[in-house]
Assembly symmetry: C2
Homo-oligomer: 421 residues x 2
Amino acid sequence: MVKIGIIGVGTVGRSVAAILEANSDIIEARAGKKIVVKLGIVQDLTKDRGVNIPLSDDPYDVINDPEIDIVIELMGGIDGPHMLVKKALANGKAVVTANKALLAYHRYELQELAGDIPFMYEASTAGGIPIIGALRNGLAANHIESIMGIMNGTCNFILTKMIGEGADYKEVLKEAQALGYAESDPTFDVGGFDASHKLLILSSIAYGIDAKPEDILIEGIDNITSTDVEFAKDFEYAIKLLGIAKKVGNGVELRVHPTMIPQNSMIAKVDGVMNAVMVRGDAVGETLYYGAGAGGNATASAVIADIIDIVRGNTNPMLGYKKPLESGLTLLPKEEIHSHYYLRLSVDDKKGVLAEVTNLLSRLDISIEAMMQKPDNDKDECVELLFVTHECQEKSIQEAMSELEKLSVVHGKVGMIRIEQ
Amino acid sequence: MVKIGIIGVGTVGRSVAAILEANSDIIEARAGKKIVVKLGIVQDLTKDRGVNIPLSDDPYDVINDPEIDIVIELMGGIDGPHMLVKKALANGKAVVTANKALLAYHRYELQELAGDIPFMYEASTAGGIPIIGALRNGLAANHIESIMGIMNGTCNFILTKMIGEGADYKEVLKEAQALGYAESDPTFDVGGFDASHKLLILSSIAYGIDAKPEDILIEGIDNITSTDVEFAKDFEYAIKLLGIAKKVGNGVELRVHPTMIPQNSMIAKVDGVMNAVMVRGDAVGETLYYGAGAGGNATASAVIADIIDIVRGNTNPMLGYKKPLESGLTLLPKEEIHSHYYLRLSVDDKKGVLAEVTNLLSRLDISIEAMMQKPDNDKDECVELLFVTHECQEKSIQEAMSELEKLSVVHGKVGMIRIEQ
């Protein structure tokens, strides 16, 4: 018998306890031992948790219990769990966590502290999809060329509705909030921060890159307009919030942003709150992993998979490397990212304006692949110019956008969405 | 350093050796040790293999070498490898194989013999897609409700062309043969036998079901007509050769057959030679795994993942269970399978025929969900009747087909394709 303690008995913790009980037959056969929740830790003992496990409000009742072999951290936040999992490791206990924020900031320190003690976190990224296992084990023979993931269900739900129904961003956000898919302050999701945590975890396994959310390009979905959506549909693109990690020479691009991708690519077909991660390896080619990225049961499925793996005695290295990786790969500065770009600008509807804009783009070495003009529905006497560029550097585009916004014929902000072919 | 021997240096064996060399930096960092091919075994030593490894033509040079820790079986066939891997296990060597046929017939015996010795076979099913790992580890918390897989690239290539271009089966088969996607005798692929081997492997991990290809329903794609393809398109179905494992009460349906599935399901979107497996678990919900199902490098990616896992010291139970599973699940007899069915029959174009046919169906408790009539392009004075049934039993449909074929107003064979909603 293996005894575990669960710190944090919220939606996921409840599901972990419930599934361990409901599926105990198959879990015991697969793990080889019975897995028993000895104690759950909650902040407020008076609240009914609807689970049949003993409860305490002191996490040290788990961390200092010599009978407990595995600590399941499901409390959320960064500083609290950071301190607690370090103590658990110091006490020689294996750790399983679903905490992406903790890992986005402290994964390398925790790997160092864990050493040979199992530290598992399948549930931290893309919920129930076993993407950590795929990347750490299943694709271990490969140099990873790129990762592109839909790793935030809230954003994907909103973008799917905007594209599918032509609905407005603010309208769909409200619907997502009503359905419980988005928080009352939705910034963490729609701003791309949640996805950036997951991307950082995956890029450590793929490339051994140590970076923090502050170091990488993160843009949210809140500036996408109905013009952008119409353009995407006309040109057979989907718009998805993607977390992208891409090897370019000895550099690695890490970025999270709304992206236009061809409608016929597999990842473009992932709709609603579902998640998917596309991984391209030099040996295996393109692979894709699809499933529920959130929800109590799906996340608990990943937490329990980690517990079973530990009980089986497996010793997967935390970030995928048993020995230091001397890859020579470094994080590319944001300005050096390369992409195709879609630009949208509202300009005066008069002669010479197009020439002024295209001259400016040409001066910055931005070469245009396609251009179209649409009436501006919001402003009379204005038109919207939409451009698709050939591949160019992020720095040039940022400079172009800032220069364009200074032109007297250009009104308001220039819209931009990156394109992946 | 870990030394391995490769028995069978064909397309996959060559790729294994080449990738171990080309990606040695990252493989050594991930595994923690250098992995070296000490010897490759070939039948004909005079043939140039284009790999930089020592060769012999005696498999016992690998099996009896005390320095070799892991035996990689890539020779193909059943009896030869069966004898050799048993000897390798008896000598205490870990085994990695890509041999689906060996496992379709001998997996339980090999599991018994292996005991605690690692026996790995990620490459046997769906090539480079880490589906064995997903099912054995990532989804281990779940009771598996169903598995549906496109596990044969040849069939998927042919069906994609038939649906996409309205091309004829025989025409596309020739094209697949010219491209090297189909053998000169294509029976093993287009008859569904290849997919059945893979399905049996997955169903052992999911359900602990011990069965052989002879025990399960296997139908190929060679009877699909242009009428079927048109019908599918009109009703927004794709036609895919699926391997299906499905829990129904205490029974498990195992079947391989062409299947109509809604075009908007993720698995319907998998085109060309690509493979994908959809797994539905009671905790995780629907997940899908997509990638290349064949090819030297993709298959080698899976073989090397297994080698790395063994070198890391992981001890995954061969078929996923550390203890006997007492699930009480048994293989459902073929006749007891339930499905929706599409039926196609050519009948005399005269009064009373439809009544005769529908009376017969009704007498066998087959209830009709939709019916349409099309001119029969091959036979004057005939029409084709197309039916979609509500869910009914395989036994009734088989009886109906046989009874219908006896009617004087019905010409030729009755066509049938199962439908999954």
